[in-house]
C-alpha cells in the first residue's frame, strides 16, 4: 500500500511543526507545495469552492515571522496550511455554504473557531465544497458540483463535509475544519480514510458557522492522525461570550491523556449499530478493530441503545424544523442572490425557488410543516421527548462502559448518483446522528479497507469526555497502520 510519508503536504501537523522549527521548510514553502498539489488535484476532486491564496500568503508571512521570533511559544499549527468548510465565515472571503443563494456573499467578520486558528498562525488555503447548507451525506447536494473521493473519484467522499475530508485524504493539507450535524464530519472521514472528530455539543463555539440545525451543529477537525486531531481540537475548543450554548468551563487538554491506553477500559458495542444495511466488509473491518482494542487490554461489552431506529425519525423532525427557521434569513433582501420581482412575495418566492436546491427545499418544507399549528405537538414536541429518551439511553449505557465503539458508516464510499432516494441517503447516518441528538463527542478513525475503499471505526464517549475519545482512538491507531495508508492523490504533485 502507498504511504503518505513521501509527500511534504501529506505529512502530519506534528511532523510539519518540527520541520518548520528545524529549518527544513518554511510556511511559504509549505503553502507553495499545497497550492501546487491543489492545482493539480482539484480538477478531479472539486474539493475547493474558493482558493484564498492572497490570505494564505499573508498568513504564511506572518507565521514565518512568529516562528522566527518565538519558535518555542508558537502554536504547533503556526505556518501550517489548512482548509475550511464553506459554511465557516471568514472576513471578506466569499462564503456560500454550497448554495447558489449565497453566491458572492462575503461576511464582514470571522467566526470564533476560525479566528482561534488564525490567531495560532494557521495558513488558510481555501474554502471547501460541501452539501448545500450541510444537508446531505455525499456532497452531491452542493450546488457547485460533487466532490470526488480521492480513493476513487467515481465515488462520493461522504458528506456533508466532503471537500474538507477529501482535501486531507488527497494530501493537499494536513488538516481542515468541517461541521457535524448528524455525522457530517465522521461519515466523510470514514469514507475518505482520515480522522474526523465531532466535539461535545457546546465545546466549540458556533459563532461564524452558518447554521443548519443549531442544537445539533458542531465544528470539528479532519486530520491524518488522532494526535493532530487533538491538537486542532485544543486550539478551537473553549467558551465564547458570543455563543451562549458554548460551555465556559475549562477544556481538559486531550494530549495529557492521549497515551494512557485502553487497558482496563470497558468499551460498549451496541448491536443496534449493525443494522440491515451494514455491509459485510464493513462489519468484518470493524470487528477486527474491536479485537485490536481488546488485545490492548480493553474489555468489550455488548450494550443496547433501543431507540437507535427512532433516532433517525427524531433527527429528521428536529433538524428540518430548526433549518426551516435558520434558513428564513435567505430572503434576497440584504445579501446573496435576489430574484428581482415587482412584488415582495414574488421576490421571496423566486429568490428561494432559484437559490435553494432540492434537498434544502425538502427540509425547509418538512420543518415548516412539523412546526405548524396543529402539528407541533405530534411532531416537534414528540420528537423532543424522544430526543431526551435517546440521550438518557446513552447516559445509562455510559454508567456501565467508558466508551462506545461501532462502525462510523454502514457502508464504504458509494458510487455517485447511486442513492437518489432521500431515505437511503438518510440511512448513511444511522450510526452517527444519535450522537448529535445526545450532544456526545465522537470520532472516526481509519480501520481497514474493503476493495480499496476505507472503513471507519467510530468511538463515542459521554458529554465533555472528549479527551477519552482521543485516548481510545489513539490507542487503536498506534496499534494499526491504516492511518498511514495514502490515497492515489497523495504525492502526485511532489
Amino acid at each position: 500500500m502507498r504511504s503518505r510519508a513521501a509527500s511534504l503536504t501529506a505529512s502530519t501537523i506534528t511532523e510539519l511543526a518540527a520541520a518548520l522549527r528545524d529549518g527544513s521548510t518554511t510556511p511559504r514553502a509549505l503553502l507553495a507545495a499545497a497550492v501546487a498539489h491543489l492545482e493539480k488535484s482539484d480538477k478531479d476532486l472539486n474539493a475547493y469552492l474558493t482558493v484564498t491564496r492572497e490570505l494564505a500568503e499573508q498568513q504564511a508571512d506572518a507565521a514565518a515571522l512568529t516562528l522566527e521570533q518565538h519558535p518555542d511559544s508558537a502554536s504547533p499549527l503556526c505556518g501550517i496550511p489548512m482548509a475550511l468548510k464553506d459554511v465557516l465565515c471568514v472576513d471578506g472571503i466569499e462564503t456560500t455554504a454550497g448554495s447558489q443563494i449565497l453566491r458572492g456573499f462575503k461576511p464582514p467578520y470571522t467566526g470564533t473557531a476560525v479566528r482561534r486558528l488564525f490567531d495560532a498562525g494557521a495558513v488558510c488555503l481555501g474554502k471547501t465544497n460541501c452539501d448545500e447548507f450541510a444537508m446531505g451525506s455525499s456532497t452531491e447536494n452542493s450546488s457547485f458540483g460533487p466532490v470526488g473521493n480521492p480513493w476513487d473519484i467515481e465515488r462520493v467522499p461522504g458528506g456533508s463535509s466532503g471537500g474538507s475530508a477529501a482535501t486531507v485524504a488527497a494530501g493537499t493539507v494536513p488538516y481542515s475544519l468541517g461541521t457535524d450535524t448528524g455525522g457530517s464530519i465522521r461519515q466523510p472521514a470514514a469514507l475518505c480514510g482520515v480522522v474526523g472528530f465531532k466535539p461535545t455539543y457546546g465545546r466549540v463555539s458556533r459563532y461564524g458557522l452558518i447554521a443548519f440545525a443549531s442544537s445539533l451543529d458542531q465544528i470539528g477537525p479532519f486530520t491524518r492522525t488522532v494526535e493532530d486531531c487533538a491538537l486542532v481540537y485544543s486550539a478551537i475548543a473553549g467558551g465564547d461570550p458570543r455563543d451562549s450554548t458554548c460551555d465556559p468551563r475549562a477544556v481538559a487538554d486531550p494530549l495529557d491523556s492521549l497515551h494512557a491506553g485502553v487497558a482496563g477500559l470497558r468499551l460498549g458495542i451496541p448491536h443496534e449499530y449493525f443494522g440491515e444495511g451494514t455491509e459485510p466488509g464493513v462489519r468484518a473491518a470493524v470487528e477486527a478493530a474491536f479485537a485490536v482494542l481488546e488485545s490492548q487490554g480493553a474489555t468489550l461489552v455488548e450494550v443496547s441503545l433501543p431507540s437507535t431506529d427512532v433516532a433517525l425519525s427524531v433527527y429528521y423532525i428536529i433538524a428540518p424544523a430548526e433549518c426551516s427557521s435558520n434558513l428564513a434569513r435567505y430572503d434576497g433582501v440584504r445579501f446573496g442572490v435576489r430574484a428581482d420581482r415587482p412584488s415582495l412575495t414574488d421576490m421571496y418566492l423566486e429568490t428561494r425557488e432559484a437559490g435553494f436546491g432540492r434537498e434544502v427545499k425538502r427540509r425547509v418544507m418538512l420543518g415548516t410543516y412539523s412546526l405548524s399549528s396543529g402539528y407541533y405537538d405530534a411532531y416537534y414536541r414528540q420528537a423532543q421527548k424522544v430526543r431526551t429518551l435517546v440521550s438518557q439511553e446513552f447516559d445509562a449505557v455510559f454508567q456501565d462502559v467508558d466508551a462506545i465503539i461501532s462502525p462510523t458508516s454502514p457502508s464504504v464510499a458509494f458510487p455517485m448518483g447511486s442513492r437518489s432516494d432521500p431515505l437511503s441517503m438518510y440511512l448513511c447516518d444511522a450510526c452517527t446522528l444519535p450522537t448529535n441528538l445526545a450532544g456526545l463527542p465522537g470520532i472516526s478513525v481509519p480501520c481497514g479497507f474493503v476493495d480499496g475503499l476505507p472503513v471507519g471505526l467510530q468511538i463515542l464517549a459521554p458529554r465533555f469526555e472528549d479527551a477519552r475519545v482521543f485516548r481510545v482512538a489513539h490507542a487503536y491507531e498506534q496499534a494499526t497502520d491504516f492511518h498511514r495508508a495514502a490515497s492515489p492523490f497523495v504525492g502526485t504533485a511532489a
Partner: protein
C-alpha cells in the same frame, strides 16, 4: 383636529364593551437585546448602529442583555406579577424585510412573568385590570417606502438601527369596559414604566406602543363576542378615539343583525375610523419553537429580590404618602407625583427647608409652567432645586413678596443665580415697616380722593386702585397684605 365618532350612550347601554390592551415598550438599556450595538436608534444615521448579529447575517448568534432581563423583572414586580424560576426564549417565525433573521426572538409559553395587575381610579371608581404576562423580545427595523405602503412603493429602504432594541410586551387581561378606562390604564402603565426608569414613554416616537382587542356582548352574557384587534394608535387620544369609533362600528353591525368577523383593523387618524387590515384566515402561523441558540434562564429568588430592592416608591404609594406626610390634597399629591422627577424635586424642596404647602403651590404652579415653557425640568434648570429653595425661603421669611419672587423666578429659571444676593444687591426686600407704609398709604389716599370716596361709599373693589398706587410708590416692594390692612384702617376712620 379630526372629527371622530363618539360611541353613543345607547351602544354602551345595550352592549358590554370588553377591551384588552397589549403594550410594547422599548427598554432604556444602553445596548441592544442580543448584541452590543447601541440601542439608540433615534439619533443615529441610517444603519449606523448595526452589526452582523442584529443584521441577521449568516453564522451569527444572539447573547442575552442582562440589563434587559433586570428591567423586565423590575416591571413585572411593579405590576405585581409572579416571576417563574424557569423561563426561555422562543422563535416567532414570519417573513418581512424589517425582520432580518426571518424570525423574532420572543417568548411563547414560558414568559419571564405572569399573573399581575394594575389598579387605578376612573371617575372616582377603582378599576383593577389583570396583567396576563410581561415578556421580553426584540424590536424590528424600520422601513421607509418611496410610496404610501410597501405593496405600491417603487422602492423601500430599511434602517436596522431599531432592529434588536429590547422590547417588553405587557399583555393585559380583557378587564377594561370603557375607552376611558383603557386610556387611563395606559396613562398609569406609562407612568409606572417611566417611574421605574425602564422606558421613556414616548408614544409619538413609538417607544411605548399599544394595540387593543375589542369586542361587544349583550349585558349579562358571559361568552365573549367576536374580537377585533385595533392597531396604529400613537397617542392616548388616538387610543380613546379609535376605541370609540370601533365600538360604534361594532354596535352598528350588531344592531343591524349582522355578524362581526375576527380581524385586525388599523386606526386611520385622518379618516377617524378603523380599516380592515387582515382577516383571521390571513393570520400568520408563527410556528413558535424554543430558541436553540439561547439556553433557558433560571431566575432564582435571590436575583428576584435583588431586582425588587431596586424598585423605587411607585406613584400611587407616593401620592398617598404625600397626602399624609405633607398634608396635601389628593389633587396636589397626584399632580406632584405625576412624574418621578417632579416628585423628587418637590421632596428636595421640602427637605431644603421650604414648607410643604408653599413648595407644593410654587412647584405645581409657576415652576411647572416654566419647566414646560423651557422644556427644562427644575432639576436641569439654571436655578436648580437649591436656587428655588433659597428663593422660597425668602418668600417664607417675608423678605420678599410674592410678585417679586415671581419675577425673580422667571428671570433666574434658565440662567440661574443667587436669589439672596440679588435681593440684597437690588434692594428688593419688601417694605413691611408700618410707619413707612402708613406714609405711602396717606399719600395714596390724598392723591386718589375719588377712589377713597367710592370705597367709603361701600364700593369694595375701589381699594384696588389705592393698593396699586402704594405698590407703585414703593417700587413694588411693599408688603401688600400689610398695605391692605393699613388702607382699610385708614379709610374706616
Amino acid at each position: 383636529m379630526t372629527q371622530t365618532a363618539r360611541a353613543p350612550a345607547t351602544a354602551l347601554d345595550r352592549y358590554e364593551v370588553v377591551i384588552g390592551l397589549e403594550v410594547h415598550a422599548q427598554l432604556l438599556t444602553r445596548s441592544k437585546m442580543f448584541c452590543p450595538c447601541p440601542a439608540d436608534y433615534i439619533n443615529a444615521g441610517p444603519n449606523e448602529n448595526t452589526c452582523p448579529v442584529c443584521l441577521g447575517l449568516p453564522g451569527v448568534l444572539p447573547t442575552i442583555n442582562q440589563q434587559a432581563v433586570d428591567f423586565t423583572v423590575r416591571t413585572a414586580l411593579a405590576l405585581h406579577c409572579d416571576i417563574p424560576d424557569f423561563t426561555k426564549f422562543d422563535r416567532k417565525n414570519y417573513f418581512y424585510p424589517d425582520l432580518p433573521k426571518g424570525y423574532q426572538i420572543s417568548q411563547f409559553d414560558l414568559p419571564l412573568s405572569l399573573n399581575g395587575h394594575l389598579e387605578f381610579p376612573v371617575n372616582g371608581t377603582a378599576v383593577r385590570c389583570g396583567i396576563t404576562r410581561v415578556h421580553l423580545e426584540e424590536d424590528t427595523g424600520t422601513m421607509h417606502h418611496a410610496g404610501d405602503v410597501l405593496q405600491s412603493a417603487a422602492s423601500s429602504l430599511i434602517d436596522f438601527n431599531r432592529c434588536g432594541v429590547p422590547l417588553m410586551e405587557i399583555v393585559g387581561e380583557p378587564d377594561l369596559r370603557t375607552p376611558e378606562a383603557a386610556r387611563e390604564y395606559l396613562v398609569r402603565l406609562r407612568q409606572i414604566l417611566t417611574y421605574i426608569g425602564v422606558n421613556d414613554g414616548n408614544l409619538e416616537q413609538g417607544s411605548f406602543r399599544c394595540d387593543a382587542n375589542v369586542s361587544l356582548r349583550p349585558h349579562g352574557q358571559t361568552e365573549l363576542g367576536v374580537k377585533v384587534e385595533v392597531k396604529n394608535m400613537n397617542s392616548f387620544r388616538a387610543v380613546q378615539h379609535a376605541l370609540d369609533s370601533e365600538i360604534e362600528r361594532q354596535s352598528a353591525v350588531l344592531d343591524a343583525g349582522g355578524t362581526l368577523v375576527q380581524e385586525t383593523r388599523g386606526w386611520v387618524e385622518t379618516q377617524g375610523r378603523t380599516i380592515s387590515q387582515r382577516s383571521k384566515e390571513q393570520a400568520h402561523d408563527y410556528r413558535y419553537f424554543p430558541e436553540p441558540d439561547l439556553p433557558p434562564l433560571r431566575l432564582d429568588a435571590a436575583f428576584v429580590e435583588r431586582v425588587r430592592s431596586t424598585l423605587p416608591e411607585l406613584p400611587e404609594a407616593r401620592a398617598q404618602r404625600f397626602q399624609t406626610a405633607y398634608g396635601l390634597t389628593a389633587y396636589d399629591a397626584a399632580v406632584l407625583t405625576d412624574t418621578r422627577e417632579s416628585a423628587d424635586a418637590y421632596e428636595a424642596l421640602v427637605s431644603a427647608g421650604v414648607s410643604a404647602k408653599l413648595a407644593a403651590n410654587w412647584h405645581s404652579g409657576d415652576v411647572a409652567a416654566l419647566a414646560n415653557e423651557h422644556h427644562q425640568p427644575l432639576q436641569h434648570s439654571g436655578l436648580g432645586i437649591a436656587g428655588l429653595a433659597s428663593l422660597l425661603r425668602l418668600v417664607e421669611s417675608g423678605t420678599i413678596n410674592g410678585p417679586t419672587a415671581k419675577e425673580l423666578l422667571a428671570e433666574l429659571y434658565v440662567s440661574g443665580g443667587d436669589p439672596e444676593a440679588l435681593v440684597r444687591d437690588r434692594g428688593l426686600a419688601q417694605v413691611s415697616d408700618t410707619a413707612a407704609l402708613t406714609a405711602l398709604v396717606d399719600a395714596a389716599v390724598a392723591a386718589n380722593p375719588g377712589a377713597a370716596a367710592d370705597f367709603r361709599a361701600g364700593k369694595q373693589q375701589a381699594i384696588g386702585q389705592l393698593m396699586r398706587a402704594v405698590k407703585d410708590a414703593s417700587g413694588g416692594k411693599a408688603d401688600m397684605p400689610v398695605v391692605n390692612r393699613l388702607l382699610r384702617d385708614r379709610l374706616s376712620e
